[in-house]
Symmetry: C2
Subunit: 149 residues, 2 copies
């Protein structure tokens, strides 16, 4: 029986390439704000996860905990948010400041423009289907390796 060929191209490399392109385009669109697209995503996630421990935010964003903590540093420094005690004695939670909310609004408008432009070009209908496949691929990658079952 002929051995199946390895499927190409590299899933990781393809997505990283796309990630770089989108990052540049979205950051360029947000350039009038001091915030970039990663920080916007974090801010939005914190807004959705009020009083949740930071670990929860990291999980939502599929980030390593330490990556999130490092990303928060400049945002705390610039007073977009502050760190407060959580429900636990060990956990902390992030709280968005007034400045942070203002940024969320301002950057949100810029984001809407670039997001609409990109997705309209791609096709709204196809976009919904594509996002579903993105999520499914994430699951395929994340699923534990079922070794010798």
């Amino acid at each position: 029986m002929p051995k199946k060929s390895v499927p190409r191209p590299c899933a990781c490399t393809s997505i990283k390439k796309l990630s770089r392109v989108l990052g540049r385009v979205y950051d360029a669109a947000l350039a009038t704000s001091p915030i970039n697209v990663t920080q916007l995503a974090i801010l939005r996630c914190i807004d959705r996860s009020k009083s949740q421990p930071l670990t929860h935010v990291a999980e939502e964003l599929e980030m390593d905990r330490s990556s999130l903590y490092r990303a928060l540093d400049p945002m705390v420094r610039d007073e977009w948010l502050k760190i407060a005690a959580g429900t636990d004695a060990r956990s902390l939670t992030a709280v968005i400041t007034h400045k942070g909310y203002r940024l969320l609004e301002d950057a949100g408008e810029q984001w809407e423009q670039v997001q609409t432009r990109v997705v309209e070009r791609f096709g709204r209908r196809k976009w919904a289907a594509f996002v579903a496949e993105v999520d499914r691929l994430r699951g395929c990658a994340n699923a534990p390796e079922e070794e010798n079952l």
Copy 2:
């Protein structure tokens, strides 16, 4: 006429999340080699772009030139490749060493395993279609903004 809603979720954030997951999974699969998936992609690209200027490699990978140069530093330090004069007096080119080729082989085997595992789960047929959409989205994002035509 009702204004159309902004399509969600954020294209950039969705892809960055997927990128983080895939990066972790592929890097874990390559952990027995000293090379990570980004470096593997660069090495492969250099292999395909023999005697081309570094700028060309950066373009292929959708990377900023400076990002590529920085990424090459540890690879040159560890002697996976060396930098040689290009066809120009101004351009340089990267040359893979024996060590680099050995790594390309060793890591290639690990890569095949994780790539096959992830794509088989996703479905080979669907994978081909998905890759096409990834490329199309990249084009949609990269296309210049047609302002006031």
